[in-house]
Point group: C3
Chain length 216, copies 3
């Protein structure tokens, strides 16, 4: 691959990565505003939602300090998303469809980036796929735990499964020595398409039939 193209691909990935960060940060800010946090609480929750997936991955593979703590752009993007949501909450809610699309893009990109980084740190295929999924869903889980709710990713339309599917493409492609660009793009696309189909067709995974209900 000529250097020119590599630069373009890297630039595109960075842009998508920051878009995904932005989408996850907005989901955190919306959750914070709904729970009447003050503006700083909203910013902390934005950052937590955007960065936790990558932080969990980096802690688990020992890549310390975590990238999203070290790179000021993630902090900056989170702050912009948080402030925007805080002051124009009604408008952000109205473009929630756009947010869902960004979120799906972020999920796909975080899942493949997580799996690829885990492979680069010499983890085996199953751990790498798991870590890719965790990188994708971690932010949403931490966001919901911080506002004392059961994580939505545990029960909403196909979400963690889409992340696992995207991460698995990276792991399988790596094992079969497919070209990295193809593998990365296919994985992200698979996750994104699965997620969008799940949203628009209302696909859901089965829920346990149980007579007893939780304590709360």
């Amino acid at each position: 691959m000529p250097p020119r193209e590599e630069v373009v691909v890297h630039l595109l990935l960075t842009i998508f990565d920051l878009l995904g960060t932005f989408a996850f940060a907005i989901s955190g800010a919306i959750a914070g505003a709904r729970h009447k946090l003050d503006i700083f609480g909203v910013l902390v929750l934005s950052f937590a939602a955007a960065a936790s997936g990558g932080i969990i991955r980096d802690v688990f593979i020992g890549a310390l300090p975590p990238a999203s703590i070290q790179d000021w752009r993630y902090v900056a993007v989170s702050v912009v998303a948080g402030v925007t949501t805080f002051f124009w909450h009604a408008k952000v809610s109205r473009v929630q469809n756009a947010v869902l699309i960004f979120d799906a893009i972020g999920l796909g990109l975080f899942a493949i980036a997580g799996a690829a980084k885990a492979l680069a740190y010499h983890l085996g295929p199953i751990p790498a796929a798991l870590l890719g999924m965790l990188t994708g869903i971690g932010g949403g889980v931490v966001r919901d735990v911080l506002v004392s709710e059961v994580p939505a990713v545990f029960r909403k339309e196909i979400y963690a499964v889409a992340a696992l599917a995207g991460a698995s493409v990276v792991v399988i492609g790596n094992a079969l020595h497919w070209p990295p660009q193809t593998v990365t793009i296919s994985g992200a696309l698979l996750c994104f398409v699965l997620r969008m189909l799940a949203i628009y067709r209302g696909w859901r995974l089965p829920v346990a039939r149980t007579s007893d209900s939780p304590a709360d």
Copy 2:
């Protein structure tokens, strides 16, 4: 000790370890089913309950990536426990006594394994005993936080204390140069027996008398 016996001991420990993982995973799956998670959410919660204690320990001592992420058997055992509980929820609830026994076995084994690994990483006696306790209770704490409940281990029959007792045997035995096998087995047994006595005799630790109640 002849190699033959060592192999047998190692095999037994591995079997018990996976049994403990299975028991903790079932407790996670039951919590997930009660909160109407979808099947994937149930699997994630099974794995979180089974693996979090060991993950916390491995992160704290810097043994990265954590063992339960790297060893596919823990993932496999969690998935089997989760799927079983999801589809045969009523039956699993009926053998809850068996689950409690497995859980007590798991608690004892996780506590001694946690303390022993911390000592192997050159931690002092107090940190090692603490980490043994944390390894034992961590899974239950993370499970309950993820379904937005106050961790049961903070208020149910003697639980964390049993784990601390088992871990302390390992630490004290190590300081006194007792034979590792004896120490390990005594620690696990002490934790298991304490826990079973607490369950069947209804032993409880005192609760603070306080007039004000929590906000929720």
Copy 3:
């Protein structure tokens, strides 16, 4: 600086650090007692509130095992605070003003210590300021998550902002090569004064105006 003075400064910092730990541990114990945890649960929550900020910082910068796990004095101070609160809950509640002051001291000291340690581990200025803030607020966040409440630091009087201000003084002073003692003391003082003013004047950050309320 003559060695004599250095010893005095180090001694003072250690005393304040343990006072801060004590204050955070009391806040954890009060939360545990209000939620009817048993005595051991109260002790675990005391330790979690006192140690989590530092643990998060040490995990993020890779300083493993975390200092508050390794140094028995933090455990001892937490246990003393927890037992005291458990048995004399009414009296501790009555001196809650004193507790708030200790808490503000602890916040300031944890924030500067967090930022200074992050700089010592070669983190850049923005990550170091962030980690200082996280060290200060981490204990309160974990405490509230463990009793299933939305962290108070996300919505009470200027709290995380005070920690960030104190940490920023350390980072800026370090960049400008100011003498470390001056920087450290100024940072801690700024955080403490901001926090006390916020409490006694009822300063608050704005909260988002939103029509929809959280699900719970």
